[in-house]
Amino acid sequence: MSAGTLPSNVRDPGFPTERENYLTNSKGFLSWFCTLDHKRIGVMYLIGTVTAFLIGGLLALGIRLHLFSPEGWLFTDNWLGSSVDKNTIYNQVFTLHGAIMVFLFIIPSIPAALGNFLVPVMLGAKDVAFPRLNLSSFYLWMFGALFFIGALLSSGLDTGWTFYTPYSTTTDSSVILATLGAFILGFSSIFTGLNFIVTINTMRPPGMTWFKMPLFLWATYATSIIQVLATPVLGITLLLLIAERVMQIGIFDPEFNGDPVTYQHFFWFYSHPAVYIMILPAFGVISELISVHSHKHIFGYRFIAYSSIAIALLGFLVWGHHMFTAGMSSLTTIIFSALTFTVSVPSAIKVFNWLATMYKGSISLTTPMCYALSFIFLFTIGGLTGLFLGTLATDLHLHDTYFVVAHFHYVMVGGTLIAFLGGVFHWWPKMFGRLYNEWGGRLSAAIVFIGFNLTFLPQFVLGSRGMPRRYATYDPEFAYLHQMSTIGALILGIGLLIALVVLIASLVNGKRSPANPWGAATLEFACTSPPPYYNFERAPVVGDPYDFHDIFWDAENERYVTAEPEREIVPQTVPEESPAHAGGQN
């Protein structure tokens, strides 16, 4: 990026017309629900996952309010007129909170909502490889979500989101409805992953080699590999669970000669890699955010890219660390502990690289950057506290306590949710063509940060002092820390509400967004905001996605513009005829 006078050859796509713009070029209910446009599908996913998040968030507030007092404060034996006892209500609430947040929000949020919108545009392509599969994956998501709501409305679900046997094979709550829901959601996840793998493999425009891809695409690619390889295991496990419940075939239930620990192996063989489905895309988002808002080339591009792949592969080898106390052999536990430590290396590499990217940059403290800084702080705590759980001696004490609750919330919420919010604020002007109120955005980031830490820092202390998790009531000596946590949760809720209000207000009265509101060099900022239906008129010129040399600040019009095209053009490697779908004209 350069200051001073603008060169003469700047390019500014300006603003799209009603007809060019993907949001308005066709109208009506059917034009959305039958759309094959990846951007519209991304927007529908965004609405769906955010709705799921709001429901899961309200349940979380219910949990925290209930735990304000040791005997339980919110739920009573005849809560809302039902005569179910309060512990049962609490157990159903925390189960649904976990299941909704994991299956309906964290797993699909970044890959399906942001990924669907961004992957083709960042590639400079017109759409994903299989647009119809893409739409069907959204419908599967909706369908799976309906099963979850069905489970909630029929007889509740009280197994915890992990469905551990033999509790889940013997309880009379709606285990089958919920697991069928998770099974269907698994298909949705596999379809999305498959689509992205094929899209990234085949639809990169001329010149976009693997190492010219934005890091968000690397992260998405690594995530998709996990989605395609690990999710079927979950599907099979859940089907076996249903079979066990219905037919008592004797796999998991000791009453029929099954072994409950087998279920744990199966379940975590998916669900540990799933943790990386949740966090890898967040790494991708943060890499984009830090580089763009520091206006500096990402530091150690290759190390970051390789570390994504390394995490995806190592993530398959560490599932046993969820079962250190379950009764595996000493050798097995030691091997799993050692493997677990290997995953922390690539994660640490990323943090160091982000810091080095900021060093000597030109940092703008925009809303997305505030969220990115918040992410680094929170994820570092989440990652470092994982060390206590990977270490065998300390894990025995901390396993199944609030320490674990705090750790995974720092990773999943402090990591994924914050990255998701940062990503939404970063790409919002691109997606909807409107700028939001920057002060409101930054205020939301600050309040979310304060509220989050107040909620979950006390839980580390609760856990190491011995407070077990999933308790509806607790010993009075823990009350003080629980109350701090509840107050934090309310502040966090307010912060998130402000973020929502700021974004929605921008749709009503936000200024129109220029094509490149942040001065980014990735391809999605080369087309107008919002993008036209086919994204690009012609296959865009591909350069280094983190080269800011020919991005200029146009002070007169208050926008970033790009000088055309002084960056090195990679020689055409593709023969004369490039595939029609690769962003070229039909």
Partner: protein, 356 residues
């Protein structure tokens, strides 16, 4: 609302992070914890300082170019990739060594059986003595052989830094050596508490000592096991001498001569987990209420009906799945071998008092 005794640092004997160290493992585990904590803090503080410093120092107005566009520095990257790995290996090794100590019980450990069920504990002291409290001997390596009669539970004693899942269908073992004895409260204090409690179930949380007057360590179920998971708690008492422990076991072995069967039945109702599923005030829990039960007629799940006489009560305790009351699930564990004939007679006598 805020009681100062609840403040984590109010008690000087307790650190911020941990409960009291009361087993031979505790010091080692806390040491490993502190070691990781300090290493992590060094990294965390460094990262946060860099983060804040860079964000302030390199904060620039729109359009000002970055001072550098350096995109990589391979030696530096290799350094920060490989360097921390040595610390990770160190953490892994110290953690694994302490862990192996915790896995292998010494030969000749004192052995106690544990049965976990929804939602309570039965400790088996041998010779037909069962009690929900875990009583141990100071400085004596103790091995628990644990089994579950329904779902997965997990035995967790925070003060011992010890935890192990109890998986149905297999025996799981754990061991520890208690290093802090439970003090005994004064007779006056105990008498006062007993008077205040009256005939109700003992409230451990309120008095912070057992009905026998011992201070205790908490024992929790740490694996989610359904409705009353959070109430599946008991206490650990560490005796100073073998004689004291033996005397306690002997006292709990059977009904003392001066206790009426009805009163003993009530004690068993509160101690042996009946109360978690069967109310005595008519409210519906997992199982039918005991109020007005004896002598009544019950519809059974198979459509027949049964009169609740001593035979049926005895059968329900020993073979709970044989005749299940309509509207309830067959989830009660069998107490066969855990209750003596006198115990069962006492329970029957107690149930009769509830139907008068």
């Amino acid at each position: 609302m805020l009681d100062h005794n609840q403040l984590p640092l109010a008690d000087v004997n307790k650190s911020l992070w941990f409960p009291e160290q009361a087993s031979s493992f505790a010091e080692g585990v806390d040491w490993v914890y502190d070691t990781i904590l300090y290493i992590s803090l060094v990294f965390f503080v460094g990262i946060v300082i860099a983060l804040v410093w860079f964000a302030i120092k390199y904060h620039k107005k729109k359009g000002e170019p970055a001072e550098s566009q350096t995109s990589h520095h391979t030696p530096l990257e290799l350094l920060w990739s490989i360097g921390p790995s040595f610390l990770l290996v160190y953490m892994f090794v110290v953690g694994a060594i302490s862990y192996l100590d915790m896995r292998t019980p010494p030969e000749g450990s004192y052995e106690i059986g544990v049965e976990a069920y929804k939602w309570g504990w039965t400790m088996d002291y041998g010779g037909g003595t069962y009690h929900p409290e875990l009583h141990l001997l100071l400085d004596e390596p103790t091995k628990l052989s644990m089994r579950s009669s329904d779902v997965i539970h997990s035995l967790f004693i925070p003060a011992f830094r010890a935890k192990k899942d109890i998986v149905p269908g297999r025996y799981n073992y754990m061991w520890f050596k208690p290093t802090v004895a439970s003090e005994k409260v004064s007779d006056e204090e105990l008498a006062k508490a007993k008077k205040a409690t009256g005939t109700d179930a003992w409230d451990y949380d309120e008095y912070q000592f057992t009905p026998d007057g011992y201070r205790f360590f908490d024992l929790y179920c740490a694996e989610y096991c359904g409705k009353s998971h959070s109430e599946m708690q008991t206490v650990v008492v560490v005796h100073e001498t073998q004689e004291e422990l033996d005397a306690w076991i002997k006292e709990k072995a059977s009904r003392p001569d001066d206790v009426a069967p009805e009163a003993w039945g009530k004690t068993l109702y509160n101690q042996r987990g009946c109360a978690s599923c069967h109310s005595i005030d008519g409210s519906k829990r997992v199982g039918p209420s005991f109020k007005d039960l004896a002598g009544s007629t019950h519809a059974l799940a198979d459509g027949s009906s049964v009169t609740v006489d001593p035979n049926y009560i005895r059968e329900s305790i020993l073979e709970p799945k044989a005749k299940v009351v309509a509207g309830y699930n067959p989830v009660m564990p069998s107490y066969k071998g855990q209750l003596s004939d006198d115990d069962i007679d006492s329970i029957i006598a107690y149930l009769k008092t509830l139907a008068e």
